[in-house]
């Protein structure tokens, strides 16, 4: 498995080095309701550029709804989302992608009608010539760029440890590999901000560790990562900051140690202390 050199990304030591500039993502008084049910209510927080920032909370806390709001899949009922300083509330996902945002899905959204490589190549969409006439008539420049995209995609697959699936159909790949494939695809667009929705869900201990390594490597390359995860070991070990949600509202925020020690967080997960 070919990987870039992994450094011991101990969050605190690199914290000072990283915290420069305005937050890359900011939500202000964000809310979303579905027919009377308030999934997210008056949520405000920001994410520093270069961080690995985790969102935790019990099931139904609104984590995926938050993701969908940030990535334009849902429109907010109230409040706004600021990406790189610009108000992007309710902007269509493809335009957010053009601005440097990328994500994976809790329930895999793999293109099962294509090969693994093609899945990642689609991720390169924004960097390719997607006009009709060059496509119809097979302009040489388009063919050349496509070949480059193919090589890039193969490289990305290798980076996440999927070399042996390069020629495979997506439909024939095991679940763990598909989770990594989605990450490769999300990386293909060279995003500034990567949102990972439960990347370790359904994975065993070994696979979780592999994902952990991938995330660290990606972050080391300067990409800001927002993570929704239930695997507390991963979350605690990898995050620079954590936001804890409960019932659509902010419960706590801070470094992993701060959040883990917060009594409200403990109560939400384990029930109120006697």
């Amino acid at each position: 498995m070919k990987m870039l050199a992994t450094t011991d990304l101990s969050p605190d030591t690199t914290a000072q080095a990283r915290r420069v500039g305005p937050p890359i993502l900011k939500v202000e008084h964000l809310s979303r309701e579905f027919g009377g049910v308030l999934a997210i209510g008056d949520l405000s927080f920001s994410i520093a550029a270069g961080d690995i920032h985790s969102i935790i909370g019990p099931n139904g806390a609104g984590k995926t709804t938050l993701f969908n709001l940030v990535t334009g899949v849902y429109k907010p009922s109230g409040g706004r989302v600021l990406f790189d300083g610009a108000d992007v509330s309710g902007m269509a996902p493809y335009r957010l992608a053009a601005r440097g945002m990328s994500r994976t899905f809790q329930n895999l959204q793999i293109f099962f009608n294509m090969t693994a490589l093609e899945n990642v190549m689609v991720g390169r969409h924004l960097h390719l010539n997607t006009r009709l006439l060059p496509a119809l008539f097979r302009f040489p420049s388009l063919v050349r760029k496509d070949r480059e995209a193919k090589d890039r995609a193969a490289q990305l697959m290798a980076d996440v440890g999927l070399e042996k699936y390069i020629d495979a159909d997506a439909a024939s790949m095991p679940y763990g590999a598909l989770k990594r494939l989605e990450i490769a695809r999300a990386l293909a667009s060279e995003p500034k901000l990567l949102l990972l929705d439960e990347p370790a869900a359904g994975l065993n201990a070994t696979e979780s560790r592999e994902i952990d390594e991938v995330i660290k490597t990606v972050a080391a390359g300067g990409v800001t990562i927002v993570l929704v995860e239930h695997d507390m070991k991963m979350v605690m070990g990898i995050s620079h900051r954590i936001t804890a949600l409960n019932q659509g509202r902010m419960l706590a925020e801070g470094t992993p140690q701060e959040v883990a020690a917060n009594p409200d967080v403990i109560a939400a997960y384990l029930g109120a202390a006697p």
Partner: protein, 291 residues
């Protein structure tokens, strides 16, 4: 002036009643199985053709209608069993094409069995027009509207009061939950097809004296019934009925006041307008997709 308007309204109401029955049939099947049954119109056709041919060979009218109804129900169950249930988890496109295939197939069989000519069915109670406020109405129209009304009320009671009806409703709301409480959802789908077929067949029999029966009568009736269902909100029974009446009356008014050549286009313009501007119809609900 008023008499003319009334005339159009009455004829619109008459045909609208058939669209209502067809639309109701669509809704019932859609509710039970999330399938749009493009063969709905053929159930109407079977009812009409069977009644016409059987009465022509001496079978008493009520019996002829019942046989036609029974035949349509049988066909409905067969379509459900062999075409629709087999492709249970297929994509929407696939299911649409299957029921389109079924409708073409049924038309082909009907052509073989009954030939291509138009068949007459005598009006149930004679042809002396009834005069109402200057407009004249065929007694058969009363039969159409009356029968449709009775059937619609009966269906309403069926869903509200009987166990089978409630089982069908439950399946339409949540197939999995219905299975978990012991409802045989496969049977429910079959029942819904049978029910819709019966509705259509009776409608076909009752409208045959007005429109004649011929093997292609189902096509337009079915498509316009679909317009009625979508207008009312797909899956909403009473909505489909309202939709049918609206489409029928709009058609009649359009033909009367604007252009009779474009009569058939009215329903399709309506459906385009509905799909583009209020896809959930008059009474339908919005849904969201979970990602």
């Amino acid at each position: 002036m008023f008499a003319e308007l009334l005339q159009y309204l009455l004829s619109g109401l008459t045909i609208g009643a058939i669209y209502a029955l067809a639309g109701l049939g669509f809704s019932i099947i859609y509710n039970a199985s999330h399938v749009i049954n493009f063969a709905q119109g053929e159930f109407i056709m079977i009812g009409g053709m069977a009644s016409a041919t059987l009465t022509a060979s001496g079978v008493p009218l009520p019996l002829a209608i019942m046989i036609g109804c029974g035949g349509a129900m049988l066909v409905g169950v067969l379509v459900a069993k062999f075409a629709v249930e087999r492709a249970r988890n297929a994509s929407t496109v696939t299911l649409i094409i299957i029921t389109i295939g079924a409708s073409i197939f049924l038309r082909g069989v009907a052509e073989l069995v009954w030939g291509k000519d138009f068949k007459r069915l005598d009006a149930f109670s004679g042809e002396t027009p009834i005069q109402i406020l200057g407009a004249s109405m065929q007694p058969q129209s009363l039969w159409v509207v009356g029968t449709a009304g009775v059937l619609i009320v009966a269906i309403g009671l069926f869903f509200a009061r009987t166990l089978t009806g409630k089982a069908i409703l439950a399946t339409s709301h949540n197939r999995l939950a219905a299975q978990l409480v012991g409802i045989d959802v496969k049977r429910v789908v079959l029942a819904s097809f049978a029910l819709s077929a019966a509705l259509g067949a009776v409608g076909g029999a009752v409208v045959a004296p007005i429109t004649f029966s011929y093997t292609e009568m189902g096509i337009m009736l079915g498509l316009k019934g679909f317009t009625a269902a979508v207008l009312g909100g797909l899956g909403h029974g009473p909505g489909a009925v309202a939709g049918g009446l609206i489409v029928g009356i709009a058609e009649a008014l359009g033909a009367g006041y604007i252009s009779s050549a474009y009569k058939d286009a009215v329903a399709f313009v309506i459906i385009l307008a509905v799909l583009l501007f209020m896809p959930n119809g008059l009474f339908g609900k919005r849904g969201t997709e979970r990602v």
